[in-house]
Amino acid sequence: MSEMQLKDIVYAALLAAGEPLTLDRLGALFDEDVRPDREVLRAALGELEAALATGPVELQCIDKAYRLQTRIAFAPWLRRLSAERPPKYSRATLETLAIIAYRQPVTRGEIEAIRGVAVSSEILKTLMQREWIRQVGTKEVPGRPALFGTTRVFLEYFSLTSLADLPPLADLRAERIPGETADDTPEDAGAVAADGDAEQAAVTEEAAGPQPPVADE
């Protein structure tokens, strides 16, 4: 860490994450051989809290995760912050929603196993508030985790008659991921897309010119 202060790294992470961070996730920011233990992290969080004491931001710990929030005294001004652009869901939120749609009924643990990272309660809360997902039961395993599934509101929002309208996973896999591969191929050469109508009509792109289906070689 050298000159960089642990307190500042923690502050930067909380500001950048956009979601509450547990001690484990804070620890994971560091290489194993220099990873601060939980006590050290807690001390840094304490330092941060003290440093923030005179400012408009405060540190909160909810359900063992830390997050920053504006002090309530600033609410009168902040209430007037109307968004100019509609906000966006984080990638994590969209991934979670997509996994629930394809894998329902599914537990949070299963979503995490697929995503490879933790799914915050915030995300599930957001999706529940939107009424796109709901708890449809609990799984009979230790801990009795909740099972999530999508709702009719979800189908309606995405104009799906049923989940079967979603493109099969195999088609998604086959598609080339933009930006990941050399993409200089003149598309005329490969316009014969293997997956014809898999490129669903819902792909709403306003690109100019005719967009041939993605060629897959």
């Binding site: 997050r67 920053l68 902040l78 990638r91 996994i99 394809y102 995503r115 009979e140 989940l163 079967a164």
Partner: protein, 255 residues
């Protein structure tokens, strides 16, 4: 010095710095973003004055590369061949005696090519500089904090199906990278039905098995429901109870 074999065929002519394994060669050749990129590479590599290109020599080298690309069956953009033709034309025009017209000087046959190369090179350099700039999510992150309890009237985010699928593609790529998760085992219709069945089951008590089926859905619907029930049983999400042979089967949520 032995000739480099590509697919068993010796290459007739190779630029002197091409003694590299064909695999690596492929990577190098694929990294050219187009014929101008390749030409610039040849010119800058040999410290050639771009304003006085020895066109015959550069054409020879260029063609050698194009031949290698063809030989290892790289998908060769048509533009490479167009450029080859252009180079050949310039070369032939350079050989012709220049008519001495009074006053205005005859334009150098290479002028247009040089102009294009210089212009392209500017953008190629700009790419490096743009890529070197701080990038969101790579070098810096937008700082933001929660606004819980502010009861702002915020519009809800809009999501397109494509964005949703795009997010899923990301997951699939990662999942492929670290393990082979079987994300999808059943057709979606079955998974959807599993959710619906869980919803209809009363939290305490039994639901009659037959009530889960809707004859109006036809055969396919019945099959989907049946598969969903089997899958739910397999995942220990519901249990089936039958008190005696031929008695009605009841379904109970395990929760």
């Amino acid at each position: 010095m032995s000739a480099v074999l590509v697919h068993g065929e010796p290459l007739a002519e190779l630029p002197p710095d091409l003694y590299i394994p064909p695999d690596a060669l492929e990577v190098i050749l694929e990294s050219f973003a187009g014929p101008l990129d390749l030409l610039l590479y040849l010119i800058r590599r040999d410290n050639i004055d771009i304003l006085d290109i020895p066109i015959a020599e550069v054409t020879r080298q260029y063609m050698a590369y194009v031949e290698v690309m063809k030989a290892i069956k790289l998908e060769l953009a048509a533009e490479y061949l167009v450029m080859a033709a252009a180079l050949a034309e310039i070369k032939s025009r350079m050989l012709l005696p220049r008519p001495q017209t009074e006053g205005a000087e005859e334009e150098d046959p290479r002028a247009e090519l040089v102009r294009r190369l210089l212009e392209y090179e500017q953008y190629r350099a700009a790419v490096e500089r743009i890529d070197a700039r701080p990038q969101l999510g790579r070098d810096f992150w937008a700082a933001g904090i929660g606004t819980e309890g502010l009861d702002q009237e915020r519009p809800v985010p809009e999501v397109s199906l494509e964005q949703l699928l795009d997010a899923l593609r990301g997951v699939l790529m990662r999942a492929d990278a670290f393990a082979h998760h079987r994300i999808l085992r059943e057709p979606l219709s079955v998974r959807e039905r599993m959710t619906r069945i869980l919803e209809t089951l009363r939290p305490d008590g039994f639901t009659e098995f037959a009530h889960l089926f809707d004859a109006g859905e036809g055969r396919l619907g019945v099959v989907v429901t049946f598969l969903a029930v089997l899958e739910l049983v397999r995942e220990s999400l519901i249990s089936l109870v039958q008190n005696e042979p031929f008695a009605p089967i009841h379904v109970r949520s395990c929760a």
